[in-house]
Amino acid sequence: MWDDPSNMGDGLTLGIGTLVFVALALIAIPGVKFTKQKQIYLVYSLGSIFCMWLMWFIVFIAQMNPLIEPQLKKAE
């Protein structure tokens, strides 16, 4: 299924998108040394980034292979 041409662009987008979030996480991690509350900072930032990625991922793949076609509203 992965060599389906219409999906190549989507696969790329998925990869890049995931990398964006990974980059966000990598940026957030060194911020640990600026705060005393290391545990809270790490759990909160990485947890939030994971949730945000998850949400984006779900919405994206839900549209990758659509089960229904959009039927435009009839113009009034």
Binding site: M1, G17, V43, Q63, P66, L72
Partner: protein, 867 residues
């Protein structure tokens, strides 16, 4: 928390090593140690004061059987209560005049006795002032009334006197004519009168009463007073009338006076001659002037006193509250008069032991005591209180968790995970970019302007919640904005930031798909009839995925709990089957959802039927048009077996092992009981050790009389106390062996299994509320948009747009942001409290309540009762 700030001035020296370990560990409540304190008598007060400054000691009451009024420091507490009463009186005086406490920010050094004297003096002065003021006010009113009586009376009394004189002359000159007019000399000579003032409302009844009482034998004249007068007795401003009653005889006079008192009429002596009249008037004026001056001076003095109170009352209240706290804690100590020391016990978080010891050292140094105040850790089997330190960012979240239940000591605190899951789940339900931005802006303003919010928080509960939760709300708002962008709903409209994945042919109107919209829901869906079909499907599946992940997190926390408590049996027989069951049922369902989404070419069977057939048609071949992937029968067969095995695994092994353990224990104790003399030899109760007589506060230690006690130095005496004493507190919380019979174990296991299996299904379905609320939110927004912004401007030509926009803004703010926000918050709370926490949270802890001046000061500053 910055300890340097808490430890203010005077005796207390700044502790240097405070800032080493301020990191907050939220995963579990702080590890605690049970500490015994031994203070020499002269150091006890200072030591407790130091400990109160740190606020890290939870004292245990070692005198639970002693009545509150019979303890060592009860007198001091009574004195504190007296001071608090006076402070309440001061506050009432300020409140009555709408004065606000205006504290000077200096930290002051009070001595208790000085403050007592000061308070009593000020109270006496205030009370005297108030009393004289009332008296003066009353006197003033009377004087004013009297002046009215004299001024008004002058006019018609003179005329009445003239009439009388004329009558007399007439009688002398022409007795016959006078007799014809019915005037007798005796009548006129015997005429007397009374002058007074009465409220206008009562004049009619008064007149009638007089008529009845005097049988009509009187003359009644009255004139209204030009301005309303303040009644000296009732302090009301009323319209009054000056009246004169002319009558004969003393009997009538008494009657009139009695009637006057009963109708609230005030009688005033009326001067008979003109000179007396002018003199009295002048006298009244003089007296009024003096009165006004005196009143002014007394008001000045009152103001001065009130000013002192205003400037100091907050610090006084803080000081007295602290003293009360110190003495309450001192009362929890056991007094050993033999060794002249106080012994106490309490809980201290392990990593704060250092600063506690430093505090005691400081106390010793400050009081220059020869004997040091010491503390040492005792081993104990009782459960410590739970302390989860928070800062202003995490405070709200932790409070929410604690209101469900305080985390037990040693178990995982859900607050840590809730930090990011709560805003996320809230956002899933509230997802709208526009509303999220409004939400964020409002909460950011609350953060910036937190000072006025704090002032509001003093009076109202809701203000307090908003004040506490302001950072939390920003969090929720930001997440809601992000998710709203993903849902592609901006006030229920869509935006097209990136290129839409569908292109519409303008000629034919047909839609072709080019690619997937990069970030979020494709904007074309908003213009489609089947928009809801698509979003419902997506959101429902998203809810289930998120729900299963959330529950797996809960189960993993239960694993943490089991490992921490070394309950290996639970790890193998509770955690593992639960996890596998959830994974093989709903984890598999999530897998199928994701597979179905990501697989471009294969079948798209209904997942519900697939799930049902997994159980009903297990091990049977799957028809080609309902097959999702190759090898599906095998996988589903395996998972089916795993599910059944897990259910049995949850029920039987643990119950069997526990029953075996019970049998073993029964066999073991049967033989042991006979050889046991005393069942509880390890912890002799304190009363044996110290011969505590509850009615006698001072106890003697009989056991230590092996050598002559007077030969010991004080330090040695203390050391002996320390070494030989067991935990002083009466051991009331002995560990109970839950004597469960075999039947109970089986029932327990059965219930747990059924609860979990059914709960797995119902909890997963419960997460569908994430979908339901976001659907409601979107639909609400769309409906209001359609009606208010589109329909109404169409119907009403000019003003329609204005009305529509105004109504739309109002509805958006009140209904959608506020009401929906609250609703989403509530459902998110429920998801956390029920579906997430029932996987692992026992919440059987009790709160760590230390003697903390920080907490005491807070409520003292606001003059609210501490919780």
């Amino acid at each position: 928390m910055n300890h340097a700030e808490i430890l203010g001035s005077h005796h207390i020296f700044v502790m240097k090593n405070q800032k080493k370990d301020d990191a907050i560990h939220m995963l579990r409540p702080e590890p605690m140690d049970y500490v015994q304190f031994v203070f020499p008598e002269e150091t006890a007060y200072t030591a407790i004061k130091q400990l109160g400054n740190i606020g890290m000691t939870h004292f245990l009451d070692l005198n639970p059987r002693v009545k509150v009024n019979k303890r060592e420091f009860s007198q001091d507490i009574i004195r504190c209560s007296e001071l608090r009463r006076i402070l309440r009186f001061f506050k009432a005086q300020l409140d009555a005049r709408d004065l606000v406490p205006n504290p000077a920010e200096t930290e002051e050094n009070y001595r208790f006795t000085d403050l007592e004297d000061k308070f009593h003096t000020i109270e006496r002065t205030l009370k005297d002032l108030i009393q004289t003021q009332t008296q003066m006010d009353q006197h003033k009113c009377e004087l004013i009334e009297m002046r009215h009586v004299l001024t008004l009376g002058e006019s018609f009394l003179l005329s009445a006197m003239n009439d009388a004189k004329q009558g007399m002359e007439m009688i002398e000159k022409n007795p016959a004519a006078a007799r014809a007019m019915g005037m007798e000399a005796s009548q006129i000579h015997g005429l007397s009168f009374l002058a007074g003032i009465i409220a206008q409302s009562k004049i009619e009844v008064f007149h009638r009463m007089l008529f009845v009482a005097l049988r009509g034998n009187f003359v009644f004249e009255y004139r209204p007073v030009s301005e309303p007068v303040i009644d000296p007795v009732t302090n009301l401003r009323e319209e009054k009338l000056v009246f004169f009653v002319f009558f004969t005889g003393d009997h009538a006079r008494n009657r009139i006076m009695r009637i006057c008192t009963s109708y609230g009429a005030s009688l005033y002596p009326y001067p008979t001659t003109h000179e007396e009249h002018t003199q009295t008037l002048a006298d009244i004026d003089n007296r009024l002037d003096t009165l006004v001056t005196v009143q002014a001076r007394s008001d000045e003095q009152m103001e001065k006193e009130l000013d002192i109170i205003q400037r100091n009352i907050v610090q006084w209240n803080v000081f007295v509250s602290r003293e009360t706290g110190i003495y309450h804690s001192l009362n929890m100590f056991v007094v050993d008069s033999h060794a002249h020391c106080l012994v106490g016990e309490g809980w201290v978080p392990t990593r704060r032991l250092g600063i506690v010891n430093e505090a005691l050292e400081n106390a010793t140094r400050v009081t220059r005591s020869a004997v040091p105040a010491i503390s040492h850790v005792l081993p104990t089997s009782r459960t410590p209180p739970s302390l989860v330190e928070t800062n202003k960012f995490t405070l709200a979240q932790q409070k929410i968790v604690s209101s469900y239940g305080v985390p037990s000591y040693g178990e995982v605190n859900p607050g840590l995970a809730t930090l990011f899951t709560f805003p996320f789940l809230f956002a899933l339900m509230f997802g709208d970019f526009g509303h999220g931005i409004i939400f964020t802006i409002i909460s950011v303003f609350m953060c910036i302007f937190h000072k006025p919010l704090e002032n509001m928080a003093r009076t109202s509960d809701i203000g307090r919640y908003f004040h506490l939760g302001r950072f939390f709300l920003v969090n929720m708002g930001v997440m809601a904005t992000y998710v709203g962008l993903l849902y592609n709903e901006v006030f229920s409209l869509s935006v097209n930031f990136f290129k839409s994945g569908y292109t519409v042919d303008s000629v034919t109107g047909s839609v072709t798909r080019t690619h997937t919209y990069v970030f979020g829901v494709d904007p074309i869906w908003r213009q489609c009839d089947n928009y809801l079909i698509f979003t419902n499907s997506m959101k429902m599946k998203m809810s289930v995925i998120v729900g299963v992940l959330h529950m797996i997190l809960g189960i993993i926390f239960s694993l943490f709990n089991f490992i921490h408590k070394r309950q290996w049996l639970d790890v193998w027989c509770t955690f593992l089957p639960k996890l596998l069951l959830l994974l093989s049922l709903f984890g598999y369902m999530d897998f199928m959802i994701i597979y179905k989404w990501m697989d471009p070419t294969g079948n798209k069977p209904m997942l519900i039927s697939t799930m049902i057939n997994m159980f009903l048609g297990a091990f049977q071949p799957i028809a080609d048009d309902t097959r999702l992937y190759i090898g599906q029968e095998a996988v589903q067969g395996v998972l089916f077996i795993v599910t059944i095995v897990c259910v049995v695994w949850m029920m039987i092994p643990k119950a069997a092992i526990e029953i075996a353990q019970i049998q073993k224990k029964k066999k073991a104790t049967k033989g042991f009981k006979k050889s046991l003399i005393r069942s509880d030899s390890l912890h002799p109760s304190t009363s044996e050790l110290l011969e505590i007589n509850p009615d006698d506060l001072h106890m003697s230690n009989v056991e230590r009389s092996d050598s002559d006690p007077s030969s010991y130095t004080p330090t040695q005496r203390l050391q002996k106390t320390v070494v030989e004493m067991q935990p002083v507190s009466l051991n009331e919380e002995e560990e109970e062996e839950e004597e469960m019979g075999a039947g109970e174990v089986i029932v327990h296991a059965l219930i747990e299994t059924i609860e979990f299996v059914l709960g797995a299904i119902s909890n997963t379905a419960s997460y569908l509320r994430l979908w339901a609320l976001s659907l409601a939110h979107g639909e609400l927004g769309e409906v209001f948009y359609q009606y208010l912004m589109i329909l109404i401007p169409k119907l009403i030509p000019v003003f329609g747009s204005i009305i529509g926009i105004a109504a739309w803004i109002g509805v958006t703010l009140a209904l959608i942001v506020m009401m929906e926000g609250l609703s989403a918050f509530l459902h998110c709370l429920r998801l956390h409290w029920v579906e997430f926490q029932n996987k692992f949270y026992q919440a059987e802890g009790y709160v760590f309540s230390p003697l903390s001046f920080k907490i005491i000061d807070e409520s003292a500053r606001l003059f609210i009762q501490p919780e």
